[in-house]
Symmetry: C2
Subunit: 367 residues, 2 copies
């Protein structure tokens, strides 16, 4: 509803209202995604908040409930964190059968430098009671869900974190890449949860509530949860959390033409929710064989690594499918198929990029 045309130039509209815009991933450039190129995920209309009147309420199982202004927060130690954030439904358009939700292609992912205060510093001021379990983050964004019999009506966006994660590395950010947070990105304050899918990074944050039981809100159960298989019980609904390891090809873009017998630079980025990506491989023969790509960026926890691979394009014209897969320092890698228990989330099977090998350079070639 309220994205500025100037700020969002070049983004791809996936949903007009609420505003859901994705980055054109094939244009991947710097390691840091510019603010105007960063994907936007909204569940409700963007709320209009005033810096002067806005307050962050900290309540629940705390010794001292707090109401903090933006100035109060700025008086706490400032921290800047660089982290890659991916929407849990990134890549959903590639699922078959079609899954409900925004039909993201590859661009619901980006990397930014977030500046703010650590949630643990705020919690320390409030004094968390012993026996507490979770921290529920609630945003000012709200609206009515309409799926009859399944949804709780008029609600605010809210998501919980285990207390251990909340006090580890979660940031409450008021700036993004050195700029004040824009309304589309959660002005005046949003959570940044390193290593977790974006649904945890609550925007337009107004309330931090400490609880002693698992939060079972809509965006923790019906939405943003998956069916976890266990050996001895039926599948159980588990809230999404850590990002899975994943490599994406930026270039060539799907359906690009590449010249037979040439060298083609295959480039992309790879990330993971725990540790760092240690290996990216590329296949040009339908995963029969894989070759190692080279990293353009050093290994930094929580931040994607851009990579490239110099592909010897085969001499024969025809269709070729490129694949990339990543492995991380925890030994996790990407599987060929999508676990149906994940529904429309955690899509990390290697996505095929079909290209056409052409005999001459008369058609456009990827850079």
């Amino acid at each position: 509803m309220s994205h500025s045309p100037a700020r969002s130039a070049g983004l791809i509209i996936r949903q007009v209202s609420p505003s859901n815009l994705e980055t054109p991933f094939h244009a991947l450039g710097e390691r840091i995604t510019a603010n105007g190129q960063f994907y936007q995920r909204s569940h409700f209309p963007v709320p209009t908040l005033q810096a002067e009147s806005w307050r962050l309420t900290v309540r629940g199982r705390v010794m001292s409930p707090l109401k903090l202004s933006l100035d109060d927060l700025r008086a706490l130690p400032e921290t800047t964190v660089t982290t890659t954030m991916e929407c849990a439904g990134n890549g959903r358009v590639h699922l078959s059968p079609r899954m409900p939700g925004v039909q993201w292609d590859l661009g619901a992912v980006g990397t930014a430098q977030w500046t703010g205060v650590l949630l643990r510093d705020v919690l320390q001021h409030a004094g968390v009671e012993s026996g507490s379990l979770e921290v529920v983050l609630q945003g000012a964004d709200c609206g009515t869900l309409t799926d009859p019999g399944r949804t709780p009506g008029d609600i605010h966006y809210a998501r919980s974190l285990p207390l251990a994660k909340a006090t580890e590395d979660v940031l409450l950010a008021y700036a993004m890449n050195g700029q004040p947070l824009a309304p589309d990105h959660g002005f005046p304050l949003r959570a940044v949860v390193p290593g977790w899918y974006g649904m945890a990074a609550v925007k337009w944050l107004t309330t931090v509530q400490i609880t002693d039981r698992p939060f079972q809100g809509f965006f923790q159960t019906v939405d943003y949860a998956y069916w976890q298989q266990t050996d001895d019980l039926p599948p159980q609904l588990v809230p999404l959390s850590t990002m899975l390891v994943k490599a994406q090809i930026a270039r060539p873009a799907p359906h690009d033409a590449v010249v037979a017998g040439s060298h083609c630079e295959v480039t992309g980025a790879a990330w993971t929710g725990e540790g760092v990506v240690t290996r990216v491989e590329v296949s040009a023969d339908g995963s029969e064989s894989w070759a190692d790509a080279d990293f353009l960026d050093p290994a930094e926890t929580g931040v994607w690594r851009r990579w490239h691979y110099s592909w010897d394009v085969p001499p024969r014209p025809g269709p070729v499918t490129l694949l990339a897969r990543a492995t991380d320092s925890a030994g996790r890698t990407q599987c060929a198929g999508h676990d149906p228990g994940r529904g429309g989330y955690m899509i990390n099977f290697p996505l095929p990029v079909p290209v056409t090998v052409t005999p001459t350079s008369s058609t456009s070639e990827a850079p």
Copy 2:
């Protein structure tokens, strides 16, 4: 699929496959519902189990995992419990807008004498480890759920109970009203959970598993849960448990004719999940005024009380709507509207019974 025509004569088919049949509530007679008149709720095809090869597995957080035959169970102290069981969706057809699920009228409720062993005796043999939280009951019934993106595929029916409830009064029943349990009612063993909606009374029971965390299976979250409002957080999904207090009118039946100026016996039953029903009231003027009904049955925890009220039918012909409402020993009573957070469950607003006051007895009158 497998209900015997002889056993289910008179039941109303709400769904053919899986078999979902309800009692014609207007025919309410004895306090105990005959086996052939008891409602049947199935989520999957009725499994065919053999008494000789069937075993109950007790596992998880127990000192001694068990595999019990029917004879092993019969060797434990036998208990008979009379209890009213209501499907959590009973009355759903009266909701507007229509809610998904079986469109039950008034008859997904019944009262039976169940015979078997107390779950706490079985758990005592196994030895529950300290720090345990729940008991997951799993049935042999299974099948594939097809709602894409929302459901976990091929699953068994399973439901959990808090350990406190499991060790209080839950029965594992092998007989119903003095007869061996029929296949439609869970042969060879089902749970009976006094005071709880029927979804907890797992049929065709095969596994009892002790856990240390809340079970988040499909029938605990997507199905058979409701949105609980709290003051300070968005609504949370809570598994259905205790039956709400409720009175239903059996006779006159909807659209019956009653003679102007006559005495009409309004009869029905009332039940509650905690304590006993202490009061039933009837209104014939759209809840402007209420008059006390008389009980036909004594107050017994967990068992419905039939009631009757001698209604002075007004002298003027025309449409009249009858209502009944119950109050229980915990002071709970029935509210006029349906909380949308309950979705298609826990329907206990007083259901209107429209009747027609006729000038003569030429048309049929309720007995």
